[in-house]
Symmetry: D2
Subunit: 383 residues, 4 copies
């Protein structure tokens, strides 16, 4: 396999290269009856689109999505939803030189080793454009989750060492600034830093944070299919991500049991509404959601394509120096925000559907067969 | 699904509860012809065994493994390898009280929410004993990898804030001290800290680090099945792990493109042996191994079971205070080391077998059908 | 993979060789809360047990099953159910000669080709004893299905050319005669035939038929995961099965559209209870159950191990003649009946759980989030 | 899941409805380096295309395929191959009436039950046009198999009771007559029958037979993933197929062990080239290919859409009579031939790639690590 299919029930199959005819995705296993339009998808794709401001690549790409199947009279039909974005502005010529050498920080060498050759135009399948399929599928997953009152949103937490300040947090600000930070002041500082880095022909990294609210308890499976493990895989499968942490994450390494455990309490004794005094665990225990907010972070590396001179080798066996030309962002983080959101949405949607088979009483109820189940239960009790 | 099966080709199916009859694993898809004995498995299981020293639970458990199938005349046969460890020392009475309340920091509440009830004896399937199956399967995976010259080893990098010092690094030291650190001095300091924490009825967390050497290039798939993503999932599926990072990990967030990219060079120009001046990427680019060393880290939380008084709730709707009794370690990290190693081995073994189907020329060679393939290639060229 | 794991949600992982230490199965993904005892499993295993009468092998094997995990206080917990049967009476000596040659009609040669060598004792994993794991898992699946009012039963339809007569059909007779026929008269004739064949050192084949009643409509997926396709795979994966047909099966080849289509009608016009005038389709259309009875058949080959002299080759390169000694049935069919039932039950249980994610309205209801879904629906309608 | 993804390594994800914008497929896991052109795909698609002669629907559809990804400079790159066919001639109006009732012999009712509503235009996803994705993916699989010298071809064996005669068998004849029979005389008789049936507004069924030659031994896995079981699933997943048999198939039910076993012999004693005196098993033993020809058959039902008057019900609760109008073939069989071939090719390609991980000696050789493996082997032997 080439690893481009993800999920157990809600399954996503992405395809396409940076400079091929187009990119897209097939979503298999989306339930029937969800209202879905091309507008729902386009709204998400536009958030990852290049050419929006000075910090992202000046390529003009429409990235207009077409839904080719799986929707009838405005609703999903339960059959595969195929979505397609044609490549408009490919300019392959820009990349022709790259064929002869391996770019540092890129997958050129490893693709060559794996496949014996590679589609060298713009990184082929290892390009950031590969995420178009993820975002389109994520838009479908988000619609599914919204139908259940589940909300997922991400933002830049830190860029080039500049971190948001909790008291300035304003969710609406995320879509207002070019660096997708929920803190206008921090965003301003980051913009200044990026302008400097552009002049230095260099790039910076950062941290994306994601919150999931409204999730029912009981989602995620014990052992290998923990919700946290699958979120980790989903996020670590995004090109530039080098680290993932949930709840307190790496900070737990320096914590004590007495400070790291989340205590339960009832606001009103006798009620069944249990609350937690803290959320160090990030809303997941034993791999299963506890119904509170889930919070995780991803470390995103600096854009590897930089104009600054770098050492590398060519295929003829020579040591060379290169300056990567072309249209490249000095920062990946803001465009990764919607990708992180999408992968989280796909993962939660899939695990939520899987989790429906956990309990026989609920299954019997689902099929209207409670009475049969009661008979089995009573029969056994008489043994 | 309950999520207890892992892998695509080399597939591991674990089972068993802390206080049930036993625990075990079935390994499906292990190639035929690997020499394998119960001793190979036992050696690994003994590294996670409790009762070895003052910092791990004083339970005396043999955890003696039996191979029930899949091995004939000392070699794997290619059919499922079933391995079983009977529970010897269960003392269920210790845990009877736990049934009535939810332990902070544990999966008691989430299991209850998911399944409607739970096996409350020692955490049931959410117990650390669940890792017996992982370690037994990991031992098989390690034997497979050793047959190809691939070595995987892990160790405690940091415990309770005390970190190893690079210049003291000595691999052989790992098995010499009770905290599995490759630095004897750091280990001594940790031992002192743990004695303090035991007195305070508290516990500490830490970081496990793992290195993989000898891996061929080309292992791992692009997009969702990146080697890094699957290592992440595998490690994050271990009970107490809250974070995962590969290569420079979260440090990339503060790095620049110019410092974070790994440069290639040839020691001798004209040779084909390419080297890297650094390994910030951790041996994986675009999700695919580049043949150099892979290095990753996992954040492990403090043991949640502590004797210190904690607030929680019982099922009758009361707010209560509890002191968790029973036999608990003040630190999970040292026993997690072999589990991290095992999950990494299982993941690499699986992805390595999957990666054999990447190139038609090698496939044709594998089946002794190079000539057929050459004909197809030549026919096309003539078109 | 060695292919010993089956299913998507309700997943079965079998292991064990004919003459190894034992055989067993792990069932992953069984919902929590189903009453389950070792007696439930044993009842099914006893139906495939040898040594029951003159037509099955005179080996005395207890085949006593032990449940090792996944059941707590008499109910399934939602975690893996591990079941084990130790081999008692192996007499490996009987089979030592077989190591040197390939038995006609057996998998000796293909295992050798695939793995480079084989566990030659009693066929190893290709033995009929491999079905112990299937039957134990099938017993769990049947309990799950019974909880929903779904009933599955199979029987010998034809043996050695002798077929049951519809008017003699009596379900209770199936367990009364040694050939598992629901027609006492046909069973008598078969018994006479088998006695003859034993004298001739030969064996006969037959057809097993299976009926599934009480299944809800909507089970099975379009395209590749049709209920009929998965039943076919499940049944064709049983050792001696060489053909599978559903509904009218191969008879459709000679039918006309006008005779083969099943007409719908309402007994009472205006009611919603739709009925069919016939069931040529076997209860499945487009791969999805229509709620009526499902009926399929499997062709089972004659026992390949016969005492009659046969030509074959040995590994030293010689043409030889062999008479297979040991304890072999002159007919596989009656012992295959419970295996067919088990594989059908596992398949239906799995597809039924998968089918719960087909419709958003039902999913929203399942999670108690109908209102969120209504809001999404209404919002769209206003567009 | 909606079940539109098939395979373990070579994975096929189809999408599209009869009257949507188009239909297509994504092939994930095709090895890199196979020459592939749109012409290769089109050649196969043209064989299932309607409008070719008087016995298939007179719709004029180009069904022109576009490869959108996964091919670079004429060769597969190892990344997903996305293929698309736009729908040209949809005439939805023809089908509008169908929305109100359930066509007998179709999946209208079961889709409605499963999803709550359906895309009623031409059967939506249950239409025969769904097979476009299968055939396009099958063309890729066939190219892969051809690269290894494996050939797959199918043909109509029997239509409306008229069967081919072995001595008239001529493979080249298959593409010469409109009913895809390898026997010109039988084809003529079938043509006469079809003309009659068209006049009677009725339809007929038949049997497709498929042969696979050049397959290496050792393909297929024991237990659940038998090659025969997966071929069965693949073929039974085709819309109109109601039965599958391999080798002697249902005839084994009436055979004896002494006549049904295939004997091995050496033409020259001392040689290693083993032969079989017969092929009742159809080239597969224990689910694993023995290297000889594989032969299977599929029972295909008569076209359910007939102009003859039929009883059915409408959604308003009335019993009605309908005559299905529109463009329908009196026979499905000839167009199913290439679909059967395609599904067989996909299955064999997938299982062949999976089978590469069966033996450690070959794996070590594949990775150029024979020496490491020898060391492990020798170490054990010294124990």
């Amino acid at each position: 396999m080439s690893g481009s299919i993800y999920g157990t029930i809600f399954r996503v199959s992405t395809w396409g290269e940076s400079h091929g005819k187009g990119l897209g995705v097939v979503v298999d296993g989306c339930p029937a009856g969800i209202p879905l339009t091309e507008g729902d998808i386009q709204k998400c794709l536009d958030r990852r689109k290049p050419g929006q401001n000075k910090f992202v690549t000046p390529r003009k790409e429409d990235d207009a999505v077409e839904i080719l199947s799986g929707v009838f009279e405005g609703k999903t039909t339960g059959t595969p939803i195929s979505m397609l974005v044609y490549n408009k502005c490919q300019r392959s010529a820009d990349y022709s030189e790259i064929a002869s050498y391996y770019r540092p920080g890129h997958a050129d060498y490893t693709y060559n080793e794996k496949y014996g050759f590679r589609d060298y135009r713009g990184g082929g399948r290892s390009s950031g454009r590969e995420t178009i399929g993820r975002v389109a599928a994520g838009a479908v997953a988000k619609k599914l989750l919204a139908s259940l009152g589940i909300d997922i949103f991400a933002y830049s937490r830190k860029i080039g060492g500049i971190e948001i300040v909790e008291e300035n947090f304003n969710r609406e600000e995320i879509l207002n600034n070019p660096v997708c930070m929920p803190d206008a002041k921090a965003a301003k500082k980051v913009e200044q830093l990026l302008e400097e880095k552009i002049k230095e022909h260099d790039s910076v990294g950062g941290v994306v944070e994601c919150q999931i609210t409204g999730i029912p308890s009981g989602i995620g499976e014990p052992v290998f299919e923990k919700l946290s493990a699958n979120l980790g895989k989903a996020i670590l499968s995004i090109g530039a991500v080098k680290g993932f942490e949930i709840g307190d994450g790496f900070a737990v390494a320096d914590a004590f049991g007495s400070t790291n455990n989340d205590s339960f309490y009832y606001k009103e004794e006798g009620s069944k509404v249990l609350e937690k005094s803290s959320n160090h665990g990030g809303g997941i225990y034993g791999g299963i959601s506890d119904g509170s907010e889930i919070c995780f972070r991803a470390a995103v590396k600096p854009t590897p394509s930089i104009a600054k001179l770098q050492k590398t080798v060519n295929k003829e066996g020579k040591n060379i120096e290169v300056s990567i030309k072309g249209r490249h962002d000095p920062i990946i983080v803001p465009r990764a925000v919607v990708v992180v959101e999408s992968m989280a949405a796909i993962t939660v949607a899939d695990m939520l559907l899987v989790s429906m088979s956990a309990r026989m009483d609920k299954i019997a109820q689902f099929f209207g067969r409670e009475q049969c189940f009661m008979e089995i239960l009573n029969k056994e009790e008489n043994l």
